[in-house]
Amino acid sequence: MNDRYRTPLNTIEFRVWARYAMFTDPLTRVGGEKCSYHLPTYEALKGICKSIYWKPTFIWYVDQARLMRRIRTQTKGMKPLSYNAPGNTLAIYTYLTGDARSASSTEVTQGAGVEYQVRAHFEWNPHQAALESDRVDGKHFAIAQRSLERGGRQDIFLGTRDCQGYVGPCRFGSDAGDYDNDGELQYGLMFHSFDYPDETGAGRLATNFWRPRLVNGVLTFPRPEDDRQIVKKDIRGMVPKHFGLGQNLQGIEQEYSATEADTSAMGAGAQP
């Protein structure tokens, strides 16, 4: 891709892939039947970034996502457990998957599944005043990159926990994707993200919606505060979680030196 996009500070670019994804549509979900959106949600990708590396000191912002595989869906009949009654109910879940990559009609080089390239960056969380001393330039970013090379600190999943995925570093825009020449596609109102009080400072939980535009396979996400593109629905009041250095949070200096020690212990032959 030839865009001269100037990326903000602390940007990471990674590819995430999985057999299935479930970006649940809230419309049918309240009935118990899950159907996936065809596009990833901001919240799901932000969650993947957080699984790679996260501290309450900063907030991840997902800038762009690129679809690499042609969208397919697959329906599975499920027997989810009932919470109150014994036994289970029946439900139909429609997962998102993608075209397999094959060299010929009989050979499959890469199995069916979703694959995205994501570009995201983090900024300091202004509402966590107690963690001001934790905002050290460079060190958080270094750990984030290192975690990305190792596949993330926590498990990666696309939407719901049963859609296990993997991450790896990449250069955003490299390789050919299935939607590269498809022009522009406009979608209806879709879920974007949640506004949690610890990141907005407002003491309320809110849901954000937006109208995605898929341009040549690339989704450009608005920030959650962007009034022009985001439709906000206020839900209820919520108390933000309290983080304190040394209380329930390991500060960056400790984190960084621990990581340094690990890397040198593993030696030069450490594989990402």
Partner: protein
């Protein structure tokens, strides 16, 4: 997702349009209801007459509460409702008197909001006068015995009189008498009902601040359907509770939007949906232009196109075997161009949806795609061209074309069920729905056909072929399966470029072996018919073994043919000897085409391609036109042609 939006747009585009006058979109704030009691009044509100006559799909006005009413204090519908609600004083026959009060209040509120319609006022006057029960008893529409109301006979069943649904007609100087088919009245009601609440919240579908609702319509697939697409009623479990504390927090959709969308969906399903049990597949363009139905086989597609597009029936000259493919392609092209012309005018988007329910009360969207109109037609064309093959579905139902997903499921998974006279081949319902669901992306997304379906169809066909008897049930099923399976094989191996007619230059091992089997069967069958023995050929019984170990089985078949060849040679009729010679020459020719190593190899079982060779050779041998007229005589062509009867 966008499907709700799309349906809402479809409703707006199609409501009240002339071209749908035969089957109009239902108005908002109303549901279809089967009503039994028809009461006619004069303009002043006096009783004229009443009759018991059932009418399905009466338009019944509803409020948000009364649409899905239940519980101890169910809300009343404004106009059409059960007798228990409409009549004063039902408590003397054991009914609930409070229902009438709610009914009266609802009606009163509507009239006081500035309604001008005289019919509704007449109904109100009559109902408040309270003489309804007496009038019905006097007219002997209802009968009393020992102080209790008798059950009323409607059609074949007897219904509780208090539960009868009432519809009203009022004779006035204006317009028509019937309240339920009056579209202006329906509109009045819809407007009044829309303004009944002034609370505003964000609609998660459109993004506007509108009146929202938590109750969404049901009765989508048929009037007794209790499954809802959107339902939020789990207040104890964690379907949506957790982060959210109530269903309003989880989901809010506009009152009008959800009605529009669900009404449109119900209308589309009735109009152009394909149903397999509980599953529904529906495809539509936003302006509801005619589109070819996804789940049809080619014959059904052509019939539907003739209606939709009003094409003149070109004289279908079946012509030579080689021409059937071309005739089919021509007809398909005309069809696609015809549909394309309509869609292109509007640059429409075609939406495909499949719905199914796993439990009562809930429906899920199994499949959802939006395509440009041209892309949709292109995919349909591609599917039908790729899988075109001569089909024989029994009872004279023959056509050249692609099988429907349902037909494919049957070819792959049907089993014999039933006993005696009711024996037939059927697919298990759940398996049918699952297979149809798997095949949808093959049509719409041009995805490759799942290999296990093809494998199952091939195995089934070979099994049916090997266990053939002279009974029509198995024979027909084999013929049907063979056509569908050949279509599948052809469609999944497009690069091999299989033709519907015999390809004499084709030298693939499986194809040639299939040809050999067909020739052997032909020799044996002719010999059996001359001797008037009514049994299946031994060669056909070897089909399964032949598919697994062709070379060894061919030796056995060749040996078992010897007595039949002897019979033909010894037969005094002149054509027998020449017939035999021709067949033997053909065997030799086919044998020459083989690669000697491939012929004798004991390694691998035959590719599914062998069915194509078998079919093509069989048709070539039994079709009249492949032999020059001078050499044929009546006897020779009397062979029992199972695949290609000349009717």
């Amino acid at each position: 997702m966008s499907w709700l939006q799309r349906l809402s747009e479809t409703y707006d585009a199609c409501f009240g349009r002339e071209q749908f006058a035969n089957h109009p979109l239902p108005p908002l704030s109303s549901v279809p209801q089967r009503t039994q009691l028809h009461v006619t009044l004069w303009e002043g509100g006096t009783f004229q007459r009443a009759e018991i006559r059932e009418l399905d799909n009466t338009t019944m006005f509803v409020t948000e509460d009364s649409a899905g009413r239940s519980g101890t204090k169910p809300a009343a519908n404004p106009l059409t409702d059960q007798l228990e609600y409409c009549a004063l004083g039902v408590d003397r026959f054991g009914g609930d008197a409070s229902k009438f009060e709610r009914f009266r209040t609802t009606l009163e509120n509507w009239i006081e909001s500035g309604l001008l319609d005289k019919k509704v006022k007449a109904v109100y006057t009559y109902v408040t006068a309270g003489s309804m029960l007496d009038d019905l008893l006097r007219e002997q529409v209802l009968l009393v015995q020992d102080g209790e109301l008798q059950k009323v006979k409607v059609g074949k069943s007897k219904l509780d009189p208090l539960k009868l649904w009432v519809r009203w007609s009022v004779y006035t100087a204006e317009r028509q008498a019937e309240t339920w088919s009056d579209t202006l009245l329906a509109q009045c009601w819809a407007e009044y009902d829309a303004n009944l609440s002034s609370e505003r919240a964000l609609c998660m579908m459109s993004g506007d601040l509108v009146r929202t609702t938590q109750k969404h319509p049901k009765r989508l697939r048929h009037s007794g359907d209790s499954a809802k697409l959107i339902s939020a009623n789990d207040n104890e479990g964690f379907t949506y509770l957790g982060r959210f504390r109530s269903s309003e927090e989880a989901l809010t959709i506009g009152y009008l939007n959800t009605q529009k969308a669900h009404n449109a969906l119900r209308w589309l399903i009735e109009r152009q949906g394909t149903r397999h049990g509980d599953q529904v597949i529906v495809s539509w363009s936003v302006c509801a232009d005619a589109t070819p139905r996804l789940a049809f086989n080619s014959a059904q597609l052509f019939t539907q196109a003739d209606e939709d597009l009003e094409l003149e029936n070109e004289a279908d000259d079946a012509g030579y075997q080689g021409d059937t493919g071309q005739a089919f392609a021509r007809r398909l092209n005309r069809l696609i161009r015809g549909y394309g012309a309509k869609l292109k005018e509007r640059n429409d988007v075609v939406t495909v949806m499949a719905l199914d329910s796993s439990t009562d009360g809930r429906m899920a969207t199994l499949y959802y795609r939006e395509l440009k109109g041209s892309e949709f037609l292109e995919r349909i064309e591609r599917w039908h061209k790729a899988l075109a093959w001569p089909q024989n579905f029994g009872n004279g139902n023959r056509f050249v074309g692609a099988p429907a997903p349902r037909d494919i499921a049957r070819a792959a998974y049907a089993r014999k069920v039933g006993e005696g006279a009711k024996r037939c081949f059927e697919v298990d319902d759940k398996l049918l729905r699952a297979t149809v669901n798997r095949l949808l992306p093959c049509i719409v997304d041009a995805a490759p056909i799942p290999r296990d379906v093809i494998r199952a169809a091939v195995a089934q066909t070979i099994r049916l072929g090997s266990t053939r008897t002279m009974k029509p049930l198995e024979n027909e099923e084999f013929a049907r399966s063979l056509g569908v399976t050949c279509a599948l094989i052809k469609g999944s191996k497009l690069e091999e470029d299989f033709r519907m007619s015999l390809q004499e230059q084709r030298t693939t091992r499986a194809y040639l072996f299939g040809r050999l089997l067909a020739i052997a069967e032909s020799i044996e069958r002719t010999a059996l018919e001359i001797a008037e023995e009514k049994r299946e050929t031994a060669a056909s019984r070897y089909m399964q073994a032949f598919a697994d170990r062709p070379f060894e089985t061919w030796l056995i078949i060749a040996k078992s043919l010897k007595p039949y060849e002897a019979r033909l040679r010894a037969n005094p009729k002149p054509w027998c000897a020449s017939f035999l010679k021709k067949r033997q020459d053909l065997i030799a020719n086919v044998g020459d085409l083989f690669d000697p190593d491939e012929f004798t190899s004991k390694r691998t079982r035959l590719d599914s391609e062998f069915l194509l060779g078998y079919y093509c050779q069989y048709v070539a041998l039994t079709s009249k036109r492949t032999r020059p007229a001078a050499e044929t005589s009546n006897d020779e062509d009397n062979t029992n042609d199972k695949f290609n009867d000349q009717d």
